[in-house]
């Protein structure tokens, strides 16, 4: 890694916000993230005692005050550490970044939230930023520096799924293109993989907004369409940056197979799992074999790599 890049990222000390789905449904992603952060020499500690972000699409739909109060409590934890918060889920990123932005921009709202937080001796100050691991790696570490650290380049074709809340609403994000972004593809290609373009690449997985939790058939209709586009593109796996998309695309395949007798079998990997493979870790170490959709041929291909 170049001296300038190293200096740059030493300025960004981080705390790791886990959220709900990663630690409680896909712990392999939590482990992969830690292995990758260590390999990249990024100073990041657990954000101990954090709760649900809370989930943007549904809890925010129920009661905005509760959403803001709980998210500001999580942010106050990272403020106490004097660290920016690193998220590894689009939903957590969206929820916490939106709350952080709204509270930083509106003194009255901040005061009102702080009157709630005072009950537990906490305060939202507005001193830290919320980061998502993909935009953080892209902007602070840069794909070329990641490529230099790759020991086991992946010779695979990948369908990148950005997910919605990584980029939108653009008024609260980091200025990446919403319609045709490329930063995530560049990160994926730093592992040696090829990011294959496909129709409706920017389309939603179907899970968000409480649709997965209450209207699973409607959610699956979106998922099925997305999967059909990915399957037609001829790829070895899907790579995402969000455990909720991950779950929808992974469990969605087994749900569709059970319901319709189909044979969907595309492995679904979080970016940190793909990067972990390129750093030489095994499928088992990264928990990729703990998915709902298992593809033996993919595992064998990874094991047989040089």
């Amino acid at each position: 890694m170049s001296e300038s890049a190293r200096k740059e990222h030493e300025m960004n000390k981080l705390s790791l916000f886990l959220g709900c789905v990663i630690p409680n449904r896909y712990p392999g992603i939590e482990k992969s993230t830690k292995l990758c952060l260590e390999k990249l020499d990024i100073d990041c500690v657990d954000l101990e005692g954090a709760s649900c972000c809370p989930a943007p699409g549904i809890l925010r739909s129920f009661d905005k005050t509760t959403w803001l109060v709980l998210s500001s409590r999580n942010i106050s934890l990272t403020e106490d550490l004097g660290r920016d918060m690193l998220t590894i889920c689009n939903g957590c990123y969206g929820s916490l970044a939106d709350a952080n932005n709204e509270l930083k921009a509106d003194e009255d709202l901040k005061e009102s939230v702080n009157s709630h937080l005072a009950a537990v001796d906490r305060e939202f100050k507005g001193t830290q930023d919320i980061r998502h691991i993909t935009e953080f790696l892209y902007q602070e570490i840069e794909p070329e520096n990641i490529r230099e650290l790759v020991t086991n380049p992946l010779k695979i074709r990948v369908a990148v799924h950005y997910g919605c809340h990584l980029l939108k609403p653009s008024k609260g994000r980091v200025g990446m293109s919403v319609e045709r972004p490329s930063f995530f593809d560049e990160l994926v290609e730093a592992t040696g993989a090829v990011s294959v373009d496909y129709p409706d690449k920017m389309e939603c997985c179907g899970a968000g907004g409480g649709v997965r939790s209450a209207l699973s058939d409607e959610a699956l209709a979106l998922t099925e369409h997305k999967l059909s586009m990915i399957e037609a593109a001829g790829v070895e796996c899907i790579v995402n940056a969000c455990p909720f998309c991950h779950m929808q695309l992974d469990v969605g395949q087994t749900d569709l197979n059970e319901r319709d007798g189909t044979e969907h079998s595309i492995p679904v990997l979080h970016y940190t799992q793909l990067l972990g493979l390129a750093f030489g870790y095994t499928v088992e170490e990264l928990g990729i074999d703990l998915n709902s959709t298992l593809n033996k041929a993919f595992f064998e291909m990874i094991e047989d790599r040089p």
Binding site: P27, G49, F62, R73, V120, P169, C204, A214
Partner: protein, 164 residues
């Protein structure tokens, strides 16, 4: 505008009520909607219904929006459409109109501080990966969970999610 039923309803929306009135019915929102490709959600119609009044609160398609923000990003009138949907949903929930599965998720947050809490299967997965059975979140820190529960109670979110 006179105080018809519709404008009275829009005045209950926090910021987006006057925004909705800017709609020129071009349909870019509906044409951009990935949910609408596969479900009966028609975003333009939903907003038009909100202009007319409270019947929007019981419109089932209010809950088929995945909050992907395509409509909001592309709206030529700059209407914060998804923000409006959030606000309309919140009014519905406060009037007791909520899907039972969503109430269940809300209750999980009230009880555990996680909308998706740990279970035995995933504790075992964590251990198999060489990790602690419980993550270093509110799951491992009872004092932190107490804080969260106190904040939830002060916001009366527990009451909102109860069946009463």
């Amino acid at each position: 505008m006179s105080a018809t039923n519709g404008s009275t309803f829009l005045s209950r929306l926090d910021k987006t009520g006057t925004d909705i009135l800017k709609c020129m019915h071009c349909g870019v929102c509906t044409g951009s909607c990935p949910s609408g490709r596969h479900t009966s959600l028609n975003v333009r119609n939903l907003l038009r219904k909100a202009r007319k009044g409270e019947s929007v609160l019981s419109d089932e398609t209010l809950w088929t929006c995945t909050t992907c923000y395509n409509c909001q990003e592309r709206c030529p009138r700059g209407i914060d459409i998804v923000d409006a949907i959030f606000e309309i949903r919140a009014i519905a929930v406060h009037e007791g109109i909520i899907l039972k599965e969503h109430r269940t998720v809300g209750k999980l947050l009230v009880e555990h501080g996680h909308a998706v809490p740990i279970n035995a299967e995933n504790e075992a997965k964590r251990e198999a990966l060489g990790m602690d059975a419980l993550p270093p979140t509110v799951h491992s820190f009872p004092d932190a969970l107490s804080e969260v529960k106190k904040l939830i109670a002060n916001c009366k979110f527990d009451e909102l999610m109860s069946n009463e």
